[in-house]
Symmetry: C2
Subunit: 233 residues, 2 copies
DNA sequence: TCATCACATTTGTGATCACAAAATAGAGTT
DNA sequence: AACTCTATTTTGTGATCACAAATGTGATGA
């Protein structure tokens, strides 16, 4: 009889110079980000070690990192799980995304060159064509790139790790509404964001960012939540 | 001849059931938070292991955690250091604190009972008397407690780890202006915060929080920065 | 005085092992 | 059939060791 449950993690490229610990971290992080692991899933060190193909030591370090990013939760029994989602937590996460990402965008605005805005516009165009071509994986990946490029325009990107932490916390949950998992990253208001950037209008920028979040992840997340809670009732 | 540099970490209580990894984490974290380690300080695994009294393995995990909280920086050579502070980074951190802590306080407001507000007021009174008595360590510790209690009133404290990460990033830097290290935590606007809480006035609350940050850490930090940059020039 | 090269030391990394606690399974009893 | 207690397995934890890369040291040369 095979192991009760074998967790499969999507492959990610491994350059020659990355440590085992870093590789394990990237595999797990990517899996969490795209919703490949469901909330509540318990993770074992040895199990992951086998999946990733390294020894337990580097896996433990990767798990600690993810725990510190609040992507994983360490229970009192020392077992490590993907956190469960609740309506309250979801609302808090969305509200926090609005707060931090709007702030980060405003803080990036002074450093935003026309060239940079053109770059963002190009990425957005590629998102649209990937989406039209039905390539959800590409459009999801490009969407992340759009936001990262936007916030990383600030030469001192203090906000970036916080934003990524929030994305990581939201990622696993959106898997629960099966078909929505990929789709949710793709309903966007990037056109409005770019327009606000061009006008150097920080008020409009903050509004566009908030709309992007609340209309995209927010709406789909709420749908998913209703679905789960409905099923549970 | 003794080792070139032996890092001494302030003691922290160690309950029986905490793991070595958790203990190493707490020692280091506390040291960083109160400014016991200067920016730029390089940390070695073996060195810390000896200081803390555990083997290298748990120390490595503790270092990974702190790195993920952006309290430590992993260089390309894999050496781990306490990040340096710059004027830009300082301003970004302060601005981020204003953004996140104001948001968190507003989010906590609906859950704020009169009893809870009384608790906060009592803590604030103890801060004042500790400060008057010249017990800077106690007043610093109570100040942290004040903010933690405030933000943790929200039953789903998504903001808390982010705020703590920001405090951790600011902690080491304030040591550089020697005398200010402890003092900066004690110039506060807690009275205004409590008044806003009582009125359930979220606008006034956000303003009070921001004033607390900008008048306290902000001003002292800028003084310290000028001092360093002046010395460097 | 400065640069260069060889050697010793330090340091991060990761695999392995031993140990204890927790979870699981199974037998026995009520 | 439900419960309890015991034995087995699984799991997290932490120390140790081997290895390779980075760092530091010192002698030799221009």
């Amino acid at each position: 009889m095979p192991k009760p449950e074998a967790l499969s993690l999507p492959e990610v490229p491994r350059p020659n110079d990355v440590t085992s610990q870093e590789y394990a971290y990237r595999r797990l992080r990517h899996a969490l980000m795209i919703g490949a692991i469901s909330p509540g899933r318990a993770l074992t060190i040895r199990g992951l070690a086998e999946t990733v193909g390294v020894s337990p030591t580097p896996v433990r370090e990767a798990l600690r990192r993810l725990s510190s990013e609040n992507a994983l939760k360490v229970l009192e029994n020392r077992r490590i799980i993907v956190p469960e989602m609740t309506t309250q937590r979801f609302e808090e996460l969305i509200a926090m995304r609005c707060c931090v990402e709007a702030h980060a965008a405003e803080r990036a605005l002074p450093y935003m060159s026309d060239m940079k805005i053109n770059e963002l516009e190009m990425i957005d165009a590629r998102i649209d064509s990937a989406f039209d071509a039905g390539d959800l994986e590409a459009s999801t990946s490009l969407n992340r790139r759009f936001h990262t490029e936007l916030h990383a325009t600030n030469p001192v990107p203090v906000a970036l790790p916080m934003i990524e932490s929030l994305w990581l916390q939201l990622g696993p949950f959106l898997r629960v509404a099966a078909g929505y998992a990929q789709e949710y990253y793709t309903i966007d208001r990037h056109k409005e964001i770019i327009a606000a950037l061009r006008k150097r209008d920080s008020i409009a920028l903050a509004i566009a960012i908030e709309s992007d979040i609340r209309d995209g992840v927010g709406r789909l997340g709420r749908t998913a939540l209703r679905k789960i809670l409905g099923e549970a009732a």
